[in-house]
């Protein structure tokens, strides 16, 4: 019998089989994350990581994320003993505040449902806490901590006054009526409103939270506080949202790539590009990269990938959207429509290309894929999604001289435009899309410059992974020191 893993507490989530071709997913228990890379860590960082691993041994993703950052910081810690004296690492690996609450609400049958919810307010060193709200059955405190920690460095890189955070609930909107979603959002806000505000904590959307849910959340916040302000980002444009937010992540990734190539005396013009995914991020990347002269050869979906030797351009880019909104989620439709090759059940990294943009899913590109890319002549890998490349694949690519750009730097355009939405709300203004685009372009140029400079200063030129971690860390650490102990 296939297991039904969908029941948490009182709320039954419609069941899907979790078993895939590769067997059921299991999460290995990790007790000592740091052992594998202990020799790469500064002694201070090793000590902090060991303490953290002992305290939160079950939080695997969080510990791996911390380890990745700490390994990058080794040269910084050697050159700046003040960080150890100020115990910055101990302060940066713990959230400033975690709010845990239960959400009780009535479903359409007037039955009481209970969900658990969290808001992790990680760092307010650089600005109000800022991070998404996720509604999904997989949400746990551990997961929120991991995502909030990652958000700290991404938000720092934008150069905007943004702290970091993350929140959500194990409520799943799947199969719920509009009214049930609304009642849940209102019950959720009945507690959360005490802890958020435009100068305190500014949540945004995430998985399961789109414009509709932001509307319900904001509407109830407004009723409870009697204030209309920029407490949320991701709002509909008519009541405070920013233009260009949907395109921002993809456009920002393309701008970053443009800067990276310009520094090496080249451009996107004529470059052969492999893209995975066909959602918002992939769409934005394809649109902007094509505008800048690149030729996008591939798109991918859950069913496989398409190879278009003429490039995804013009009407084909618009077709990506209609494909998305058809609800079929099959890129095979693109192949059928435009008469190109569809490769079922395969990933696009086997296609020879100059630049790869993984824009789909976490852990989508492993060591074998990295080897395919190198064999195919790939010189650059720019992450569009969050953490799409496995650790061993990154190490291999860097070893082979492929320039690797982590998502926390390349896809920071999304949160940057959320920051611009906060600016517009604070100023009671709406900016036209070209003005938002100009700001986004400037922000991405600055991110590239700062990351590249940090890499040159502390690691080696072109090591964007180290540069992003170091640059993000130093801004937050500096602010923590400036603001004193407390």
């Amino acid at each position: 019998m296939k297991p039904n893993l969908k029941t948490i507490g009182h709320e039954a989530v419609p069941a899907l089989d979790r078993t895939r071709a590769g067997g059921p997913v299991s999460v290995p228990r990790v007790t000592d994350v740091s052992s594998a890379r202990a020799d790469e860590l500064h002694p201070y960082a090793a000590r902090v990581l060991a303490d953290l691993s002992a305290r939160y041994w079950w939080e695997r993703e969080f510990l791996i994320a911390v380890e990745e950052v700490l390994v990058s910081l080794t040269p910084v810690l050697e050159l700046n003993p003040v960080y150890e004296a100020e115990r910055i690492l101990e302060r940066i690996v713990e959230p400033e505040r975690v709010i845990t609450f239960r959400v009780a609400w009535l479903d359409d049958q007037n039955q009481i449902q209970v969900n658990r919810a969290w808001r992790v307010q990680w760092s307010s060193a650089l600005g109000p806490y800022k991070g998404g709200t996720r509604l999904h059955a997989s949400v746990t405190l551990d997961g929120m901590k991991f995502l909030a920690f990652e958000q700290t460095f991404k938000n720092s890189l934008t150069g905007l006054p943004l702290g970091s955070g993350k929140g959500g609930s194990d409520f799943s909107p799947r199969g719920r009526s509009r009214h049930e979603v609304m009642r849940f959002c209102q019950a959720y806000m009945n507690e959360l409103y005490r802890y958020i505000g435009p100068d305190v904590d500014v949540p945004a959307g995430d998985i399961g939270v789109g414009t509709r849910e932001i509307g319900y959340l904001f509407g109830h916040y407004k009723r409870l506080t009697h204030r209309f302000n920029g407490v949320f980002t991701g709002k509909a444009h008519e009541w405070g949202g920013s233009l260009l937010r949907p395109e921002a992540t993809g456009f920002g990734i393309a701008y970053f790539a443009q800067e990276m190539l310009a520094e090496r005396g080249t451009s996107l013009e004529g470059k052969q590009i492999a893209v995975s995914g066909f959602g918002n991020v992939a769409w934005g990347v394809v649109k902007k990269v094509t505008e800048l002269g690149g030729k996008v050869l591939t798109l991918s979906g859950p069913d496989g990938y398409v190879y278009d030797p003429d490039g995804v351009q013009g009407d084909k880019i618009d077709f990506m959207l209609s494909m998305r909104y058809s609800g079929n989620d099959r890129v095979q439709e693109y192949a059928e429509r435009f008469g190109v090759t569809f490769n079922a059940n395969r990933r696009p990294w086997e296609v020879p290309c100059d630049i790869a943009f993984p824009c789909a899913i976490q852990n989508e590109l492993d060591l074998d894929d990295a080897k395919h890319l190198v064999t195919g002549g790939c010189k650059y890998l720019v992450e569009g999604a969050n953490m799409p490349t496995s650790t061993d694949a990154i190490a291999f690519l860097q070893d082979q001289g492929v320039i690797f750009v982590p998502g926390k730097a390349a896809n920071a355009g999304g949160v940057a435009v959320s920051g611009l939405e906060m600016s517009q709300n604070g100023a009671r203004e709406y900016w036209p899309s070209d003005e938002v685009d100009r700001h986004l372009h400037r922000i991405m140029t600055n991110i590239h410059h700062n990351v590249a400079t940090s890499a040159k200063q502390y690691a080696e030129p072109g090591n964007y992974l180290a540069g992003a971690n170091i640059c993000g860390f130093q801004k937050v650490a500096g602010a923590i020191i400036d603001q004193g102990v407390g």
């Binding site: 297991p3 895939r20 995502l147 399961g208 824009c359 492993d366």
Partner: protein, 109 residues
Amino acid sequence: MQPNPKRKLVTRPVQPVADLCTTCIHCDSCHLRATTIQPVHECNEFDDGTPAISNGMAKGLLHSVPKAPKQNSAPAREALVGLCMNCDHRDTCTLPRPSGGVWHCEEYK
């Protein structure tokens, strides 16, 4: 009532939902991810079957979102709102009738 000492308390462990794929409609057939070992917490292609408009999709990009049906040129009387509701010309009038109703009309009678 006294508890029966021979009866063991049976607790059924609650199985956590591991990651996004758990409720994604593509879970069984998805070939995007390279590994089945690591849980997925980030995915731009996640789809749990909820309508796209509530799933983080951009309003400005929703070319295919069905629009509200157009008003019939001769709406039923019960559908009329505003001045038209009891106007003498309501059955023959050819002036535009917005769905929100007509609230200023020089021809009202």
